[in-house]
């Protein structure tokens, strides 16, 4: 899909909101247009030119009323635009997030979670900004058309003479944007080096402090900062210089009006009111040219952003990104249904036949694995580092796409292991478990209904009572970063997460040295271990 089609889908996802945003912007633009003719009438009234009509005082009252109405409507327009852009961004963020959670990345070395987060944040915002710009653009075009129509009616020749040069200047100056873009990328990279260094040093702060390395790091930091200052300065000055060209195009227009209107003004065929109108709209027309230039750049930027976002969709179609799914920004939150437990899911036999997966690049992996696991059995997978133990588990789970071979559940071929090999059929505990900054309870349950007694059993099953007592209870302590200080906290979350979900089969890649817990738990399982324990 083209950038335009994607943006249009996003607009159509919430049609009423888009309409509200657009209509309010148009009303504000109309109120921006009005002061021109009113002021012109005011001057003509004073100088006794033009057609008789309202008194000067009435016209001033009109000006005032227009200004007051505009401020009120503008507030509403800004609120609508904020809401609209937020919603458009939220649609993109949610769809992308959902796609990542739904599908494994197919074993390709995709961007790191940090980079993905960056795209989710910045590229989604860029896409949302385009939606906002398109709605605003309608009002900008209408405004410009209205202003030009009024000017052409007064003096078509003069209009062309004074409007065209500024537009031409702006068009030429647009070429500078390519360079700005390059400068900006360079200054952004310099900024990334600064933040990247900070991130790593704080991640390794303990080592830094133990080594007493702070002064050396700061000296290095100053060098990175200086480089960034230089590049950012270059970017800012060029941006400002181009901005000056744009701003100047309005003044240039006014100067041209002075130059060309001198004769008709003297002759009386061009009134002071006409002059006021010309000057008032010239600024706005050049403002529009500027807006249009910015919008064009945003359009291109959004195209790049859409491309990156679609690349993160794990092969799902581009339309997934802009699907009008529910956001639940208002109203009750959705209920979470626990997975149904069906008798047919009960494990009798779990098999892998000829399972093959090789990591792209290194070519290492697993080849022709045949494995049979019966209910109640515990199978340990042993091997040296790099032998393919974890790869095997991830391939069994469908988290890595098998190049050959298949998975069978009770003799039947599993078409999509990634969606089939999940609780309550299969539970998995990875070697490096990930904790989220929620309570330990939420980390274990992950949305399953809480049953205090069963939770206690799971915690006991994973031999975690002592660790949890140290953390002062399942529900109190939030984990994630907060638990970093305590090794128990870091390791303790997921084993019960697996236990809690474990229905029929359990895969566990142990932290090593192996905790003995899995031998005590009642499920049948496959244990991959670096430790012959």
């Amino acid at each position: 899909m083209t950038t335009w089609q994607l943006a249009w889908r996003l607009i159509r996802d919430r049609p009423w909101l888009a309409l509200l945003n657009t209509v309010l912007a148009i009303v504000v633009a109309a109120l921006d247009l009005l002061p021109g003719p009113i002021a012109a009438a005011f001057f003509d009234r004073l100088t006794g030119r033009g057609t008789p009509g309202f008194s000067a005082e009435t016209l001033i009252a009109f000006l005032l009323a227009t200004a007051l109405a505009r401020t009120v409507l503008k507030t509403n327009a800004v609120l609508a635009a904020t809401l609209h852009e937020f919603v458009a961004g939220a649609i993109v963020r949610r769809n992308l997030f959902d796609a990542i959670l739904a599908r494994p990345d197919g074993g390709r070395a995709g961007p790191s979670p940090g980079e993905t987060l960056g795209h989710l944040r910045d590229d989604a915002a860029q896409a949302a900004r385009l939606v906002g710009l398109l709605c605003y653009g309608v009002s900008a075009i209408l405004f410009t058309a209205g202003a030009l129509a009024l000017l052409l009616r007064i003096d078509a020749g003069l209009t062309l003479l004074v409007v065209l040069p500024p537009v031409a200047v702006v068009a030429v100056a647009r070429r500078g944007f390519a360079r700005i873009e390059r400068y900006r990328q360079e200054s952004r990279r310099a900024a990334d080096r600064v933040t990247g260094a900070l991130g790593e040093w704080f991640e390794a702060v303990q080592a830094v402090q133990l080594a007493g390395a702070e002064p050396h790091l700061i000296a290095h930091f100053r060098r990175l900062n200086e480089e960034r200052r230089r590049l950012t300065l270059r970017d800012a000055v060029l941006t400002r210089a181009l901005g000056a060209v744009f701003a100047n195009s309005a003044s240039l227009g006014t100067g041209l009006v002075l130059l060309f209107a001198a004769r008709p003004l003297r002759a009386g065929s061009f009134t002071i009111g006409d002059f006021a109108l010309f000057v008032y709209y010239l600024g706005s027309v050049s403002e529009f040219t500027r807006f249009f230039g910015g919008a064009l750049a945003s359009y291109k930027g959004a195209g790049v952003s859409f491309g990156r976002l679609i690349g993160l969709l794990r092969g799902a179609g581009a339309e997934t990104l802009v699907a009008p799914g529910p956001l639940h920004l208002t109203g009750p939150l959705p209920r979470i249904e626990p997975p149904p437990r069906r008798e047919s899911d009960r494990l009798v036999r779990f098999e892998a036949v000829g399972l093959t997966y090789r990591h792209p690049g290194s070519g290492r992996g697993i080849e022709e694995i045949n494995l049979r696991l019966r209910a109640g059995e515990v199978v340990a997978i042993a091997g040296r580092v790099g032998a393919g133990k974890t790869t095997l588990l991830r391939a069994l789970l469908g988290q890595l796409p098998a190049e050959a071979g298949e998975i069978r559940w009770n003799g039947g071929r599993v078409a999509d292991p990634a969606t089939w090999c999940v609780p309550p059929r299969v539970a998995y505990t990875p070697q490096v478990p990930r904790l989220f900054s929620e309570t330990l309870r939420d980390n274990i349950l992950l949305g399953l209904p809480a049953d205090e007694a069963a939770l206690t059993v799971a915690v006991r099953g994973a031999a975690l009572e002592r660790d949890i007592a140290a953390l002062e209870g399942v529900s109190r302590r939030s984990s994630g970063r907060a638990a970093r200080g305590s090794p128990a906290g870091r390791r303790s979350g997921p084993p019960p997460r697996g236990c809690w979900r474990a229905g029929r089969s359990c895969l566990c890649s142990t932290t090593s040295p192996a905790r003995s817990t899995w031998r005590r738990s009642a499920c049948c399982g496959t244990v991959s271990s670096n430790n012959p324990a």
Binding site: L101, Q206, V208, R229, R266, R466
Partner: protein, 596 residues
């Protein structure tokens, strides 16, 4: 309102002081630009009055060309202004960034454990960048516009004092109203930013743990998406409130100015009818009134920056005022003696600020040059003991003496130089092997580095790397656990400490690496006091003394040979279990599973 401005100033003045020249140039450019901007309408008036009175065409055209020239000059000044302001602003804020980074690196682990690196980047870079924007744009847009405003009022007053005074009064009322409303809106933006940071922080965690969520089934995914919706809601609600508060400022300001303009025009019209003003003057009033809207509009646009800068100033100051808990002594520092250090631990208790202590009433003493192996299950206090000896935390109770000196009475720099701690997880950052070994210390030359590497017998390992010392390492990856540990051993050796504390990697190493690490440890410990948190029986074998911990208490302590020879000791039981484990691969336990 006065207070935050004064605080911005105090914060910035410190960093601006060295750049007086730049600031002065900026002021000159700012004033020059404003003067040119005020000149334009005067030319317009001149033009209109002359046109009305039927002056020569050449005179009118000369005025038109002058107008264009002034406009061009205005833009040139504006570009120069940006160049100077950005230069001054970035130099100043880079100083602030470096100071903040240095400050944060000195703060202790209690501080760092409560904050993600991402959060600190936000403080040091994000908030300071907001401050930079404050300086470079706010200084121009707000201060510059304020001066422009005054200039316009003065020129209006020159035409008629009543117009100048009337519009001036409105301008004052408007500014007062804006500042009051601004104060109300400021905290809202801080909360929006916080909510946004929390939202993306949570999303980032889920992205990193995506596989955990996927393999936990559709319920887990639905749950994560619901939390996502919940957080989006909170963020949106705050965002709309903040935008509304901001728009309120705008609404009031523009309404008041519309009133002022109407007043000025009405007065102007009366003056014109009375013959006291030309039509050019009325146009001048109209034009200047229009000129007033722009500074107001820009003022309001910059208010958002100002608000963010305000919130940033709060956070930056808070950070600067966070004092490290681990500090150099107040009195004169005591030097730590050279050579291997005796370790003396007397009745030490410690608990990370939690009621149940991790280390409880612990006492032991290790003579200089001896090596102690510490055993115990997870949570028994081994790592905590190591952290206390390296003074990463201060004790709750009791005393520690290293070489007879209380670590709290020594300078931190000396302590860190004399005590080497190798953590279990070795932290690697992106950079070359050299950067990772020296931490960007240019004083450590390659010769010294290679000597240290040779001393630990690691030359072969180094030569096997693709580019030797210049081999690039990726943050957190690219090295096996064993290699990372080797790197950490070299880091420690470069300091030549008197006490080496080694929290052994618990991951299994392949035999070749294990032998390499073992040899390096032996050489590192030669002539030094050593404490090893052991996960391998091979390591325990190089210890002179053994300590077994459980629940933060010492359950067994003594010379290794004696304990091994006493069949009733826990250590002997452990050895027997370990012997079972090796050849048969049966159900033995590593030292990690020591009986509690």
């Amino acid at each position: 309102m006065n207070i935050p401005l004064r605080r911005y100033w105090r914060l910035l003045a410190r960093f601006l002081a060295p750049q007086r020249g730049g600031v002065l140039t900026l002021v000159v450019l700012l004033l020059g630009g404003i003067g040119l901007e005020l000149l334009g309408p005067q030319i317009l008036r001149h033009f209109l009055d002359r046109a009305q009175s039927g002056s020569a065409l050449e005179e009118l055209q000369a005025a038109a060309i002058l107008f264009i020239a002034v406009a061009l000059l205005t833009q040139i000044v504006a570009v120069a202004e940006t160049a100077v302001a950005e230069g001054v602003g970035w130099t100043a804020t880079n100083r602030l960034r470096a100071d903040l980074a240095a400050h944060c690196l000195r703060l202790d682990l209690t501080f760092h454990n409560a904050r993600t690196p991402g959060e600190l980047i936000e403080r040091i870079d994000g908030d300071v960048t907001a401050l930079a924007n404050f300086f470079s744009r706010f200084a121009i847009a707000v201060v510059g516009n304020a001066i422009l405003l005054v200039g316009v009022l003065v020129l209006l007053g020159r035409e008629d004092w009543r117009i100048g005074l009337g519009v001036g009064a409105f301008a004052l009322v408007t500014l007062a109203a804006m500042l009051r409303l601004y104060t109300a809106a400021r905290p809202l933006w801080a909360r929006v930013e916080q909510e946004r940071a929390l939202f993306y922080g949570a999303v980032g965690e889920r992205l990193a743990g995506a596989e955990d969520i996927r393999t936990s089934g559709p319920t887990a995914r639905a749950y994560v998406l619901r939390r996502f919706a919940e957080r989006s809601r909170g963020w949106l609600r705050l965002l709309l409130r903040a935008v509304l508060a901001e728009q309120a400022v705008w609404m009031v300001a523009l309404s008041l100015f519309a009133l002022a303009n109407a007043l000025a025009l009405a007065l102007g019209a009366a003056l014109f009818r009375a013959g006291a003003a030309s039509i050019g003057t009325i146009y001048l009033i109209f034009h200047y009134s229009g000129l007033l809207v722009r500074p107001i509009a820009q003022l309001q646009a910059e208010i958002r920056d100002l608000q963010q800068a305000g919130a940033s100033v709060d956070r930056v100051e808070e950070l600067l005022h966070t004092a490290p808990r681990i500090r150099d002594p107040d009195g004169p520092p005591r030097p730590i003696p050279d050579g291997p250090l005796a370790v003396e631990v007397r009745r030490v208790s410690f608990g990370y600020g939690v009621a149940t202590p991790i280390i409880a009433d612990m006492s032991f003493s290790l003579p200089p040059g001896r090596t102690l192996a510490i055993l115990g299950r997870t949570g028994s206090g081994k790592t905590t003991l190591a952290r206390l000896l390296a003074r990463q935390y201060d004790l709750d109770e009791g005393a520690i003496r290293l070489g007879g000196v209380n670590p709290r009475e020594a300078r931190l720099e000396d302590l860190r130089a004399r005590v080497g701690l190798v953590t279990q997880e070795v932290q690697i950052f992106a950079g070359t092997v050299r950067d990772n070994l020296t931490f960007f210390n240019p004083a450590i030359d390659d010769a010294r580095l290679l000597r240290a590497i040779d001393e630990l017998g690691l030359r072969g390992w180094l030569d096997a790397l693709p580019a030797g010392l210049d081999s690039a390492l990726a943050a957190g990856g690219g090295l096996s656990g064993g290699e990372a540990q080797l790197l950490a051993l070299v880091r420690v050796l470069l300091k030549d400490p008197g006490l080496v504390i080694l929290d052994e990697a618990s991951s299994r190493l392949d035999p070749a690496t294990e032998a390499l690490v073992g040899r390096a440890i032996d050489r590192l410990l030669a002539g030094r006091t050593g404490m090893i948190i052991a996960h391998r029986l091979a390591t325990v074998g190089r210890a002179d003394e053994i300590m077994i911990l459980a629940g933060g208490r010492i359950v067994e302590y003594g010379p290794r040979e004696a304990l091994a020879g006493d069949p009733g000791s826990s250590f002997a039981r452990l050895l027997r279990a370990g012997d079972d484990a090796r050849p048969g691969g049966g159900h033995g336990h590593g030292p990690e599973e020591a009986p509690a």
